[in-house]
């Protein structure tokens, strides 16, 4: 695995390599798809496990993760890249990877719908996959408050109290243990 990362480092500029809990490498946005292509075609990472995004709202960017699997080495390698986080209703844009794996299409459809990240060339990317006529902020973005939305829309039943479990249990159930551990 270290050898693969060395090979990659010769060709692409990696800003970060972590191997504490599985191998993850970070590259620049413009390199991401070509790096993934290289990993697939040369290093044998043929199996696309998932494509997903993380919303780092404080740093104002999206992290995209391509998780690849090498069936020969039986190891996973995550490729991270950061793209600019646009303010809704503007959409962030990323290059599509559907030409490498047909399965990537679905992940990109979901990312477009749930995060508002557009993949311009990906087939059917503009068609909704999960939601129907959603006209709010894409729900997986951190600035979308699902509790507020639910309370406004779906008639919450009265009498339901929500307690923060930490304080509730500290006061009611384990007064001593709770204090000890804080």
């Amino acid at each position: 695995m270290e050898k693969v990362i060395e090979n990659v480092q010769k060709k692409f500029s990696l800003s970060e390599v972590t191997s504490a809990h599985g191998y993850f490498i970070t590259c620049e946005k413009k390199d991401a798809v070509s790096l993934v292509t290289y990993l697939k075609n040369v290093e044998g990472f043929k199996h696309l496990v998932l494509i997903t995004a993380v919303d780092w709202i404080k740093d104002n960017k999206f992290q995209l993760t391509y998780l690849l699997n090498n069936p020969q080495m039986k190891k996973e390698l995550g490729v991270r890249t950061y793209i600019e986080r646009s303010v809704w209703p503007e959409e962030s844009v990323m290059d599509s990877a559907h030409h490498l794996w047909p399965a990537a299409k679905t992940y990109q459809r979901e990312l477009h719908e749930m995060f508002g990240i557009d993949f311009p060339d990906s087939p059917e990317v503009n068609e909704p996959l999960i939601l129907e006529y959603w006209d709010d902020i894409p729900p997986y973005r951190k600035d979308f408050d699902t509790k507020q939305y639910s309370e406004d829309t779906y008639f919450p039943r009265e009498g339901r109290e929500t307690d923060d479990p930490a304080t509730y249990m500290k006061e009611m159930l384990y007064p001593f243990e709770g204090e000890k551990n804080v």
Binding site: V49, L50, G78, W101, P102, P128, L129, A166, N181, V182
Partner: protein, 393 residues
């Protein structure tokens, strides 16, 4: 004698240069069929939009989202330990794989060592979950071809396994038994004997099913040579689990990246060659048989003494250092994975669930169903063992 040879393509509409058919609904040659979500032949609450020419499917589109609850969003609002009741509900027939993946990912990030005995009990729970899920699936596969009897028998056997779950965990469907640091409880007294009895019942039912279903001439006629997955598709479409193994590619996370105690167990992944509905059914059935054997091995080797839970910090104030990891397990449908990102607070920054049905039900099914018969839709979907909640979560 009655082989009509190649289909008379003159009656068909124009095919384009890439082999796809030009679908013009206004020509009156096509029928649009909304297959589901209220349809007994569809696995769960999802729907297929089929375009038919006669009995043949020209285009298929999968529509999911009927079961979307926004788990990944909800998990970001809850503490790590509060998420356990949520994760098991991602996939209803076998919740334990979710619990295991989530717990294992947290342990990895927080650096918690799981005791020996807890690992054995986890292996046992995971195999029992696999067994009950397979038993339900066999009934579904037989039922999709109109043989309801097999489903009755296997569901009885599944209920027997669920009773054992109930004894161990207190729940029939959702167990919430695997927690970070170990499991919730020790084995009950006399559990081994009762489990062996149950396994004997299950095995006798499996023998019956083998006789009635797999040696059935009509079942063979319906299932052999239908809905073939080409081995090349396996990497392209991200096919895992029994679907890949039936195509001759021995992909099994239990063997490839042994987790919990699978490294110490003696087993070989079942593979097939033909990759049609019959082979996939056969691979799953043999896998089910193998699972009963694995449970016997586990019961023999499970240590009597030992801790079943590691010493954990107070769960309510549990903060996990920043990091990201991907943990996977082999469920009945393939590779099940949790990708977790933490930022050092008491809440996860992002949880992404990778269900095997994600590619099986959407991209693969859309490709496979083209040019099959309408009568084979249910059988094909069930043989892929798709399950919608893990697609949309």
């Amino acid at each position: 004698m009655f082989d009509y040879g190649e289909k008379n393509r003159e009656l068909f509409p124009e095919t384009k240069s890439d082999g796809t058919v030009d679908i013009d609904l206004s020509s009156g040659k096509f029928t649009k069929l909304w297959h589901g979500p209220n349809h007994p032949g569809i696995t769960g609450n999802m729907s297929l939009e089929l375009t038919l020419l006669g009995d043949e499917i020209m285009e298929s589109k999968t529509h999911v989202g009927y079961l979307h609850r926004g788990f990944e969003k909800l998990m970001e609002r809850r503490r790590f330990i509060n998420n356990f009741p949520l994760v098991c509900r991602v996939c209803v027939p076998e919740p334990d794989f979710n619990e295991y993946c989530y717990a294992a990912a947290l342990e990895e990030l927080a650096g918690i060592e799981v005791p020996e005995k807890a690992q054995w009990i986890r292996t046992l729970i995971l195999e029992m979950a696999r067994l009950q899920s397979y038993l339900m699936w066999i009934g579904g596969q037989a039922g999709s071809f109109g043989m309801g009897m097999v489903g009755q028998w296997t569901l009885w056997a599944r209920d027997r396994v669920l009773q054992m779950f109930e004894e161990l965990t207190g729940g029939r469907i959702y167990h919430i038994f695997i927690l970070p640091g170990g499991v919730r409880n020790n084995l009950t007294e006399g559990f081994k004997g009762r489990m062996l009895e149950t396994l004997a019942d299950v095995n006798s039912i499996l023998d019956d099913v083998e006789r009635v279903l797999f040696n059935n001439a009509v079942f063979k006629k319906r299932a052999v040579g239908i809905a073939v997955i080409h081995p090349e598709w396996v990497d392209e479409y991200g096919i895992t689990g029994p679907n890949a193994r039936a195509a001759g590619i021995p992909k099994d996370v239990r063997k490839d990246n042994p987790y919990v105690k699978y490294g110490e167990l003696d087993f070989e992944p079942v593979t097939g060659t033909d990759s049609d509905i019959y082979t996939r059914a056969r691979v799953r059935f043999d896998d089910c048989r193998m699972t009963t054997g694995l449970i016997r091995q586990i019961l023999d080797r499970i240590p009597e003494k030992g801790e079943f839970k590691a010493k954990m910090p107070s769960m309510l104030h549990w903060k996990i250092p920043a990091g990201e990891t991907y943990k996977k397990a082999e469920c009945t449908r393939g590779e099940y994975g949790y990708y977790i990102v933490t930022d050092g607070s008491g809440y996860p920054a992002r949880v992404n669930v990778r269900g095997p049905s994600y590619t099986h039900a959407v991209t693969l099914a859309e490709k496979m169903l083209v040019n099959t018969n309408l009568a084979d839709v249910a059988g094909t979907l069930v043989s892929l063992h798709t399950y919608p909640p893990e697609v949309e979560r």
